[in-house]
């Protein structure tokens, strides 16, 4: 069966009646590893369908088939042939196929270059540290940007509980375990946005710990990274300046960093370029001033148990200025 047909079947199955975007679907791979797993998955699926059909047919024959067929079915040899020989043959083939894919992935990982992003699982968001060509560390959060066609090492860590990094279109998942650094090499094959989510139950707001993967043409990516490495923009309008003051006066800098200002906190996500991200609060909200305002006052409802206290004391004016300021941090 060709890949296109398989893809069609997949999407029909997946989309059933929803017409979904499939942006978090393992069945719509756009990364090298995910693409390698895909055919193995479908092979195993079809083998499984055949085996199930075979059992159904044999049971039907055993129940209602002609006496001679039934007599033939009712022997020790059927049990040995169907129960031992057949499974061993089929499983050997599948198993070897899987081993070759594993080996190919291992080789690919070993051959990849040094370009790397360190991702640390937090409760319940992702801290991402890029490294520029000059070796400068650039702190960011909740959004993984990748250059299309260039393998990137993801170093996965955690300083609290176990999380699991899973961007289904890109690659399989890999756990983030305190005390260890796990590495997976990802390589996007086409530009676009997909979504990922924490896959290992990490308590509290586990369900609300997502991120976006933005794959960009390499040149655009390099430009983006250079911009990301720069300090934050200065406030341009009066409202932004007011928002900046609110930010500084209300202790936001205790937890959040905005490079180029006095805000140096490293507990919450880095906000230096928060306005340029695809989403807020680890994939929970769209990125606009209204969402910022909602998050600041209502975060314990949007993401229960998250570590940020609600800041409900701000006046309407303070809140909207703060939101506008944050949104301007592109």
């Amino acid at each position: 069966m060709t890949r296109r047909v398989k893809r069609t079947v997949a999407l029909t199955l997946a989309a059933a009646s929803t017409g979904c975007s499939g942006e978090q679907s393992a069945l719509a791979p756009t990364g090298v590893e995910a693409l390698a797993i895909d055919p193995l998955f479908w092979t195993a699926t079809w083998v499984g369908v055949l085996v199930t059909l075979m059992v159904v047919v044999l049971v039907s024959i055993a129940l209602y088939g002609p006496v001679s067929w039934r007599a033939r079915l009712g022997s020790d040899w059927i049990v040995i042939g169907g129960g031992i020989v057949l499974p061993i043959v089929v499983l050997t083939v599948l198993f070897l196929y899987a081993l070759f894919i594993m080996q190919a992935n291992a080789v690919r990982s070993q051959e990849a270059g040094d370009e790397a992003v360190t991702i640390v699982g937090k409760r319940w968001w992702w801290e991402m540290t890029y490294t520029t060509a000059d070796g400068e560390k650039v702190l960011s959060a909740n959004e993984l940007r990748l250059p299309v066609g260039r393998p990137v090492r993801l170093r996965l860590e955690s300083d609290n509980v176990i999380h699991s990094f899973w961007a289904p279109q890109l690659a399989g998942k890999l756990d983030m375990i305190p005390g260890r650094t796990n590495e997976v090499v990802v390589e996007a094959t086409e530009a676009g946005i997909s979504r990922g989510q924490c896959a290992e139950y990490c308590g509290g707001a586990h369900a609300l710990m997502a991120f976006y993967v933005v794959a960009m043409p390499p040149a655009e990516y390099d430009a983006w990274l250079a911009r990301e490495a720069e300090p934050a923009q200065r406030p341009k309008t009066g409202q932004q300046a007011r928002g900046h003051d609110v930010f500084m006066q209300n202790g936001c800098g205790g937890c959040h960093q905005v490079r180029g200002t006095a805000a140096q906190g490293l507990i919450g996500p880095d906000l230096t370029h928060v306005g340029s991200r695809h989403s807020l609060a680890a994939g929970m909200l769209t990125n606009d001033p209204e969402a910022f305002a909602r998050w600041i006052t209502d975060n314990q409802h949007i993401k229960p148990e998250n570590l940020m206290p609600p800041f409900r004391q701000l006046s309407e004016e303070e809140l909207s200025s703060l939101a506008v300021y944050l949104d301007s941090l592109e």
Binding site: E33, I84, I88, T92, F95, L99, Q103, A106, S109, V184
Partner: protein, 127 residues
């Protein structure tokens, strides 16, 4: 009452340990093999040993365990006698069959694990 004469000799009972070994020899060797290759491989990798050393060890271990198991499968009844199981024991053919097939399945398991070592690089992180 000839039918019950046999029951009057409780001491003629075959040893349960021998029977246990006879029925479980295959899976037992499989377990031994898995323990050996898993721990040796983990240890070699953790201590920074070479990937080749680990793979070689696994392949040798596979050979060393699979060989005797194959021999046991072929010389089934002799192995039983070695354990002191009487050929005339009631149900002996059933025990033979059980022992033979558990050994065959175990052999498949051992060879699969060996195949993994032949194909996959040792010590690389799981990908």
């Amino acid at each position: 009452m000839t039918g019950f004469d046999d029951l009057r000799h409780p001491d003629k009972s075959p040893s349960v340990i021998a029977m246990f070994i006879y029925l479980m020899i295959g899976p037992g060797l499989w377990g031994l093999h898995l323990t050996l290759v898993y721990s040796a491989h983990t240890l070699i990798c953790a201590l920074g040993g070479s990937s080749d050393l680990s793979a070689t060890f696994v392949l040798i271990a596979t050979f060393l365990v699979a060989g005797p198991l194959l021999a046991i499968i072929i010389m089934q009844r002799r192995f039983g006698r070695l354990l002191g199981l009487d050929d005339r024991l009631s149900g002996r053919t059933i025990y033979d069959a059980i022992s033979r097939f558990t050994s065959v399945l175990s052999l498949a398991g051992i060879l699969w694990a060996g195949a993994a070592a032949a194909i996959v690089t040792s010590c690389a992180q799981g990908r």
